[in-house]
């Protein structure tokens, strides 16, 4: 509540100062107007603000700061002051911009704290919903206080600062192997699915308009196609925000999330193409232009990816040499990833694709090259920034909705849009899944399809795109804005709220009335481990001929180039070390001729030594269950999404992996020590002859476990 009052105070103070000065030119029209004069191609690039970088003067670009010319302010305060020395001065204009930005960030953060006070509430309602509601409330407050709406989600701010933060975080921490395993499905949904949605929605809306359901005005087919294009793209921000609270299985998550990232290319191209069609006038569109559109799509997507990969290589290469400047390592990462985004924007390629692939590409090498502290810094900073950006986006979505002057309501349009996007998404997903299941290793079930179609959320990207439209060329802009607001709110709030219960409801109902017995608990966990192991043996997720080839190429060329020398050679060192260790241990065995008892962990594997404890205590059921639940190792495929804005999932899984790994390696060591021991008992001559062979075999055996160690050294876990 204090946050709110703080905001109120700031708002009122702000209003007061703006009123003092000459009427600040209302900001949004300026933004739109300056978008147009730069020529026909500018809307292709995201909004490039003209007043960017005006020092001292409130920046019109960011809608948070009303455009109050500071000179006016200064003069008025001077006039008020009169002569003489003023002890304390009101330097509002001087600190205005950063003050307002900082205050907004503070409000957003305080809001987050307040939400989490009520645990029950936060589990039921996703954070994005609450943020939008908060935005609505704030917007209403500001509107009432000042009768005009100076704050809005500014597309420039959004595309240049807020979106890259989120996408950068997503791309950098994207689980690469999962992503590439499902790349076919992701691409299909992103390209074919988005195109299908866009065209169907556009044409159907047009048809509905012809049928008279939608109101008057001269809206052409192009307008509707344009609208269809921007409303049909699944939004990465919304998907992360909602899915991270839902915990669907990782395959499902990666498909929806990957789709939301990769459909950027399609959206960009469609948007550009239709904007130019609309400006040129529908009568002047030739078939050649359609082909240009297709070519444009290929260039935008492939170009964007290439830009991203180039930056990934540069980044990985740079981090190879940062050993002496550890403190600024994170800076390189942030800068280069951001530059990847901006460079793609510069060439009007797909910026999201660029940033995503930059993150995916560089992750492996960068994580290996930089220091542990830098890794932590990067992780924390990216998460923090992305979290704040997300919060701001949702709050501003709420605020922007309240400004009635920006939109016009048409019930027919709104209702039909909602219906169409839901229907076409479901149909599209069903159709594509049917097609994909012919080729996929693990088919996508009906439940997956329901979650996928329900999870196709629209968000701030659509909103920003619609606000960017030029009112003169697209007459229906206001109606589109209203519709987009409703659609975004509906998907984020309603679908966000209901997706969790839906997911729970769709699972096979288990009889959870009875508590599982200890036997069941243990054995079920054992089954999970067995299944995981069998999946690994049968090569279910790992079987790719091409992956093997890629890993060879990577090992022989890329890693040599991009990894630090010490890291690259580390694995070989480790192997040598282990070899020596084992050789020593074996020689000890030979002399002692008993099983070596492991002392390190206090666990004794020697059967003879474990004596039966007389009169073992019988624990309470509860106690035993408690111990089991706390300590049973979890199987590897845990159903958890990889992204969480709230928690860093560290430690637990790594600890488990480390323990299990050590234990397994030790067991293997034991087992071939024992085979070696048995061999000693056989005929001497046979032993001699076989010794050569068995030595080689033991090298093999000792090699293979150690090969497993090499990845662990890099501090990262197997993908």
């Amino acid at each position: 509540m204090q946050g709110l009052s703080l905001l109120l105070f700031i708002t009122v103070a702000n209003e007061a100062t703006t009123d003092l000065s000459v009427t600040g030119a209302s900001v949004p029209p300026e933004l739109e107007v300056s978008a147009a004069p730069a020529g026909t191609s500018p809307v292709a690039s995201r909004y490039v603000p003209e007043e960017y970088g005006h020092p001292g003067i409130a920046q019109a670009r960011s809608a948070e700061e009303p455009a109050a010319p500071s000179t006016e302010d200064g003069e008025s305060s001077h006039q008020h002051g009169g002569g003489g020395y003023r002890i304390v001065q009101w330097e509002w204009s001087y600190v205005q911009t950063p003050y307002i930005i900082a205050s907004w960030l503070l409000v957003a953060s305080v809001a987050k704290i307040l939400f989490h006070f009520s645990q029950r509430f936060t589990t039921a309602v996703p954070e994005s919903c609450m943020l939008i509601l908060l935005g609505l409330v704030l917007g209403a407050v500001v509107l009432i206080a000042s009768k005009k709406q100076p704050y809005q989600l500014d597309p420039g701010l959004f595309f240049l600062f807020l979106l890259p933060t989120i996408v950068g975080d997503a791309g950098y921490f994207m689980p690469a192997r999962l992503f590439f395993d499902n790349l076919g499905a992701i691409l299909m949904y992103a390209v074919v699915g988005t195109l299908w949605n866009a065209f169907c929605t556009g044409f159907c809306l047009y048809g509905v308009k012809m049928a008279g359901v939608i109101g008057e005005l001269l809206w052409g087919l192009m307008d509707f196609l344009l609208f269809g294009a921007l409303i049909s793209a699944v939004d990465p921000v919304a998907v992360i925000a909602v899915f991270e609270e839902v915990h669907v299985n990782e395959t499902l998550f990666i498909i929806v999330f990957g789709e939301s990232l990769l459909n950027d290319a399609v959206t960009v191209v469609l948007y550009k193409v239709y904007i130019s069609f609309v400006e040129v006038g529908p009568g002047n569109v030739y078939t050649a232009d359609y082909f240009k559109g297709i070519a444009s799509f290929l260039i935008v997507s492939i170009g964007g990816t290439l830009v991203g990969l180039i930056f990934a290589i540069i980044l990985a290469f740079v981090t190879r040499f940062t050993k002496n400047v550890r403190i600024i390592e994170p800076l390189f990462i942030f800068l280069l990833v951001y530059l990847a985004y901006l460079t793609a924007e510069l060439f009007s390629l797909s910026a999201i694709l660029s940033m995503t692939f930059c993150g995916i590409g560089c992750n492996k090498y960068v994580e290996a090259n930089i220091s542990q502290k830098s890794r932590t810094t990067v992780k924390y900073t990216m998460k923090t920034l992305a979290s704040i950006a997300e919060t701001i986006i949702f709050i501003f979505l709420g605020i922007s909705a309240v400004d009635k002057s920006k939109w016009a309501w048409d019930t027919g349009l709104v209702v039909s849009t909602l219906i169409f996007i839901l229907v076409f998404r479901a149909v599209g997903v069903a159709g594509q899944t049917w097609f994909l299941n012919w080729f996929r290793l693990v088919p996508l079930e009906k439940i997956d399809q329901v979650v996928m179609s329900y999870g196709g959320l629209r968000g701030a990207v659509a909103f920003a795109l619609v606000v960017l439209l030029d009112k003169e060329h697209v007459k229906a802009k206001d109606y589109f804005v209203a519709t987009t607001i409703v659609v975004v709110f509906f998907t984020v709030m309603f679908q966000g709220l209901t997706i969790k219960p839906l997911v729970k409801w769709l699972k096979v109902p288990r009889s959870t009335n009875r508590k599982p017995t200890i036997n069941e608990e243990i054995h079920e966990r054992a089954f999970d481990h067995i299944l995981t192991a069998v999946e690994d043996i049968a090569g279910l997720n790992g079987y790719h001929h091409w992956r093997d080839k890629w890993e060879q190429f990577d090992k022989n060329y890329l890693s040599k180039l991009l990894l630090r020398k010490s890291v690259y050679h580390k694995s070989e060192l480790w192997e040598a070390y282990q070899k020596i260790n084992i050789r020593d241990a074996i020689s000890v065995i030979d002399q002692v001729k008993v099983f070596v008892r492991e002392n390190g962990s206090g666990v004794c594997l020697d059967l003879q030594v474990i004596d039966t404890v007389p009169g073992a205590k019988i624990e309470e059921d509860l106690e035993t269950h408690h111990v089991l639940v706390e300590n049973l190792y979890k199987p590897r495929r845990q159903y958890q999404s990889h992204y969480s804005r709230h928690f860093m999932t560290v430690g637990e899984k790594e600890r488990q992996d480390r323990e299990v790994f050590q234990r397994n390696m030790h067991n293997r060591l034991e087992s071939f020590k024992s085979t070696r021991y048995k061999r000693h008992k056989k005929d001497r001559s046979q032993k001699k002859a076989r010794r050569k062979g068995s030595d080689a075999k033991e090298q093999d055996t000792s090699d293979k476990p150690r090969r497993n160690v090499s990845w662990q050294d890099k501090g990262c876990l197997p993908n």
Partner: protein, 194 residues
Amino acid sequence: MGSTSSTLLKIPNVEVLMQETGFSPAHIIRLHDRFKALDKEGRGHLCPQDFGAIKELAMNPIGDRIIGAFFSPGKETVDFHTFVKILAHFRPVDKDRPKEPNSPEPINSRSNKLKFAFQLYDQDKDGKISRDELLKVLRSMLGMQVTEEQLESIADRTIQEADLDRDEAISFEEFRKSLEKVNIDHKMSIRFLR
């Protein structure tokens, strides 16, 4: 694909294999490719080291036991037939398979799945899970911070729950009975291998 049938022909007794396990030709081929990928030295059979090369298995608490399950007692190699037969345990149960009274039980029946799991516990193959065997399994599945005392009490409790004939060990029948409420078809099947 034209290579499909030719690959199939290269595998000896493939008809019998498909009949016994219920795998489709496509699956057999996939598994054959996987077998060849694991068998790096092209010997035509697998040994424990080949399994050890699968790095994910090193992260599995009972990974080594499962590897052991592939090798029949006394044998040190796994040929393709055995490989496929073991994997066939994890096929989802065919609900619409006609129940012929005289045919042997399919490999992926509920009972056979349970037998496979039982063998993982019962390392000395005496048909019973003794307290020590149970302790070993528990030790590998539980984290390091569980003390010996806790471990032993859990083991005792487990045996107490399941042991009906009071012989301080769990026989296969007792094992099966303790899991009668668990949906084994669901818990021990891999969707893909349908």
